[in-house]
Symmetry: C2
């Protein structure tokens, strides 16, 4: 007979006391594996408790693996397998996970796992002026209008806005994007638009669609650094086409096309990241004609299409895409805010249909309330209003930045070109024999941070560059930052000699 010591006056419910005491007896082997526990009816009358108390206790013991209890049968103590101990660090695993993962994934982890984009700056505890992040200014986020849109769509649409939605994206949002595209001379109907989890997700989906192992991919050199891990995962051959002052070198581009066709050419015609170059209309026309000739897709990453705050710019390549070879990427991350992860692809419907199938099996659909709130926000006119507002602000910031660079940075070894919009300025540091690490520590010592040029080149480049991004700094910060930068540059060239 099993004797328990139940306290009817305790705060602890009786069934819980039964469980705890039985567990203890099984754990210390007072009751041994194989022993049969009394039937609930018998045990409850022995203990003078309600039969459901015992029933409840047996249920939990069964769930915890202490007893076997087949319905209608007796309960027998099991040889229980241990569960993982709580609250302590795991033992080193028996499985060598690093060997279990596939070589591509492991390569991405080894080469790029240290990138904690977009957090590296925050984590380092750096406290100075940060020109390093290509990031819209949080102080300008239209938080309140967006909050109201969220509230409104959930109030008005209720449950339906929290349900699964169309993989291609919320129709109301795609409709708004189609209109916005028209304002950039791009004609796109809703079936030609796919909403993605930001532009990064668009690039991954396109690789998933187009890449084969060993595929050639053409990128501008320098280019967006976060595309390299993706190209690496898909085992592509990265072919880098140098940028000239007016955009990618079209002659080298054609020579590379003749050597072997790529699955696509990835280009940023507006306010190119990192160089800030915007190509002119003629360059764009020659570019698209070239890819039409070779019948190869162009990915036009137009992440800053809206940042034409100086007005005078060219048409998107996609607007001239009579042969449907251009895949256009748009994003809200650099205009509104990046935390909602919303971007889009405009492409031929045949291409969009296949991308949508891949996306469906990737994540079914993009967040519905995010899309609904954004659609409401946009349809109310707040998006356009916000673009106008930030145009003024960023135009002024860019003016301050370029004036400060002209005033303070007088060293002839520094070359840069005035961008006609966007967020970035690209500086070349001529005639320095210092390495990036040394340069960077001098910059940090002067309380200023930049994005180092090396991160934008697919293959190491002997020249030294850095990228200044001015979006996330106000006028005073820019002015101060450029002064500090000028001091740092002087030190760099002093050390140089």
């Amino acid at each position: 007979m099993i004797i328990l010591n139940l306290d009817r006056n305790s705060q602890i419910p009786l069934f819980r006391q039964v469980i705890d005491q039985l567990k203890e007896k099984i754990d210390d082997e007072t009751i041994k594996p194989g022993e049969v526990l009394p039937p609930t009816r018998v045990f409850s009358s022995q203990l003078g408790v309600n039969r459901t108390t015992i029933y409840k206790a047996y249920q939990e013991l069964w769930a915890l693996g202490y007893i076997e209890s087949r319905s209608g049968s007796y309960s027998r103590v099991r040889q229980r397998r241990d569960i993982m101990p709580a609250g302590k660090e795991r033992e080193s695993a028996a499985m060598n996970w690093a060997a279990v993962v596939n070589p591509s994934a492991e390569k991405v982890f080894r080469m790029f796992g240290h990138i904690n984009y977009p957090f590296s700056e925050v984590e380092s505890g750096f406290n100075g002026i940060d020109f390093g992040q290509l990031h819209p200014d949080m102080r300008l986020f239209p938080v309140d209008e967006f909050r109201k849109s969220f509230d409104k769509v959930i109030q008005q649409q209720g449950s339906s806005v929290l349900d699964y939605g169309d993989t291609k994206g919320l129709p109301a949002l795609r409709q708004y994007i189609a209109g916005r595209m028209r304002s950039h001379s791009i004609s796109a109907s809703e079936p030609e638009i796919l909403i993605t989890n930001g532009a990064q997700n668009a690039i991954d989906l396109l690789m998933k669609l187009l890449a084969r192992p060993g595929s050639r991919v053409f990128v501008e050199s320098p280019t967006y650094g976060m595309i390299f891990p993706t190209l690496t995962y898909y085992n592509c051959e990265i072919v880098s086409i140098p940028m000239n002052n007016d955009g990618v070198d079209l002659e080298i581009l054609e020579r590379e096309l003749q050597k072997g066709l790529p699955i696509f050419f990835y280009t940023m015609p507006n306010f190119h990241n990192p160089t800030g170059i915007t190509t002119n209309q003629e360059h764009r026309e020659r570019l698209i004609a070239l890819f039409e000739k070779y019948n190869v897709p162009i990915i036009e990453d137009a992440f800053e299409e809206e940042m034409k705050y100086l007005g005078k710019v060219s048409l998107p390549i996609k607007s001239m895409d009579l042969h449907q070879i251009v895949i256009y990427l748009g994003s809200f991350s650099k205009i509104l805010f990046p935390g909602i992860r919303l971007g889009w692809i405009v492409a031929d419907k045949v291409c969009i249909d296949r991308l949508a199938a891949l996306k469906r099996f990737d994540d079914i659909c993009t967040s519905q309330p995010d899309q609904a709130a954004l659609a409401d926000f946009c349809h109310k006119g707040y998006y356009e209003l916000h673009v106008k507002r930030i145009h003024k602000i960023y135009r002024k910031r860019m003016q301050i930045a370029t004036q400060a660079l002209k005033s303070y940075i007088t060293n002839d070894n520094i070359e840069w070109k005035e961008p006609n919009g966007g967020f970035t300025i690209w500086l070349e540091l001529k005639n320095t024999n210092l390495g990036y690490e040394e340069i960077n520590s001098i910059l940090l010592a002067h309380n200023v941070r930049v994005a180092l040029g090396k991160d934008f080149f697919p293959v190491p480049n002997a020249k030294k560059y850095f990228r200044l991004a001015i979006a996330n700094l106000n006028e005073k910060e820019i002015e101060t930052g450029v002064r500090q930068l000028a001091d740092a540059i002087n030190e760099i060239y002093n050390k140089n000699n």
Copy 2:
């Protein structure tokens, strides 16, 4: 001299009139490519308008590619490339996109592109009782509490909640999940948890991490239908292990392990989709011991871990995972609502770190406001409250469903097993020679819809099954639906003979 006909009384601004008329003259070649337009100063005095009017017009014409206009120089009419015509269907593309995409993506599209999950039901215009969708009841979504959490986090955290966030997931949400995992006897610290865009996204990330072309993958047969497209994309060999009444057949499983190790075994121990089977503690212990022996990962898809409304259930396999071989998938989609796309993975930290790198280059991070709102909602206790509330409701619905099945479906050819939780009941239709298409049209004619068994088998199975999901129907609908189902079944067996 260029003569324009400007109307100063028109609603249309003067610069717009200038643009339109110049465009017309260039389009009809009154002004020919190569011709030089008058300087802004000259043209404005000729027309008697402000100089900025002409400047503005030239700017837009340049942007539209009508003129070349290098700064400080004259404006010359260009031979303009056409832009895509707006508002009409695209010409058939010069590029054969279906041939451009890689074979895996094309295969997924050809085999599974017709699946418009989760919308096929809605689109077909079906109006009867739908047992087909494994979908939580929208009428039970805690909409208002969630809306308030959204509002609160945006008000309190402001811009920061709309910024990029940690790829692994919002710390506050991971912290809540860690606690919730403890309540299921799983000990997991925050670095062992990765937030994903729902469980589907978790599966895709895991394939991205583990798959190599030709990798063997073990799945239960039948299993979750939406895993097949993903396995197909990654060119895996799908090895299907039959389900017995108490879970997957462990002997066949070991035989298959001996034939060749898979990259993982995908299993749903609770309320298995589609069979509804929950394995007992002993089966789970034997299962994990087997995979420890062969040192092969298990993916435990616990999408309905919380649906233990009958109480008596086993421990998660992950809770006994002393060797860190189990990858556990959780989801909010079946408990709260699916539209916010939030799920999670619990696994060895080495594994999570690599998954996080892949996720970073997939989409940087999951929606920040969605995570923040959910974390707030959960920390306030609404999640647990909601689980308790729906336990009562779904328990009742399942009782109604099983009682109705017992009462109305008296045909001996129909076999089914009472589930002990979850949302689904799996029926076998013995001795029928009708095809699924015929069966389905009889069901639809009786205004009732089910999920057809064929969609859950990796390889065609001669037996006929269907799955009833009862989550999305209230008690009355379930009762009515089962009556209609009974009539349909009678007709099926009448036709059969």
